[in-house]
Symmetry: C2
Subunit: 129 residues, 2 copies
């Protein structure tokens, strides 16, 4: 529950490298946090959450550019957003895409099971002399 950590702490908690943090910062995926004149950057728990969210989205196959376009939706309360309907639209579109991907994977899974069955069947047949 720290609310003022530096990059080492942050990257360790989020499970990414410092290089990645700096890269995302430059790419606009996480907000910058500099302090006065010393040059060091300070981050909060929300940054950890953002990094984890980014990781999730990456695993879904989104590029960093795509993520940058939607990441903010996950970190603002609805009362602060002006074009709420638009945001809702994007979220629903993401839901549809996710369902598509799940369906594709399940189809793939079925294919895999069929192949496994075929192999096991062959092994069993060959086994009984």
């Amino acid at each position: 529950m720290k609310d003022r950590m530096r990059i080492g702490d942050l990257s360790e908690r989020a499970g990414v490298t410092q290089r990645t943090v700096r890269y995302y910062e430059k790419m606009g995926l996480i907000p910058p946090g500099e302090r006065e004149g010393n040059g060091q950057h300070y981050y909060t728990d929300e940054t950890v959450a953002r990094l984890r969210k980014i990781d999730q989205l990456k695993k879904l196959g989104l590029s960093l550019e795509e993520i940058r376009d939607v990441i903010d939706l996950y970190f603002m309360d609805p009362s602060g957003v002006q074009p709420k309907q638009k945001v809702l639209g994007i979220l629903k579109q993401h839901l549809a895409e996710t369902d598509q991907k799940i369906e594709g994977l399940q189809q793939f899974r079925t294919d895999l099971l069929n192949h496994i069955d075929r192999f096991e069947q062959w092994l069993k047949d060959a086994e009984q002399h």
Copy 2:
């Protein structure tokens, strides 16, 4: 139903570029098909099917290297394979990975639904004056 096409025909049917065909050929994803001394490569309908399968697998997030390790499984009958147990192992490992991905996606889906709910709730509350 051609069984002897050249690269132009092949790439058009499979919906990939000629460069991609040559790249996959060099990477061992599709079998080479040269003819005598003329230098030109000839392909069959199966190559079209392979290219389409590769595209499917790519959309699931598999790398070309991962695909190369499994693509043959879709295009040979089990009776022709020597190390059947090994192949079975690979298939089962892919099954496990697929299950992992599906689980991740479903978690993400749940998150999405929660966010959507929050937005819709807010809109409904704001609506009644």
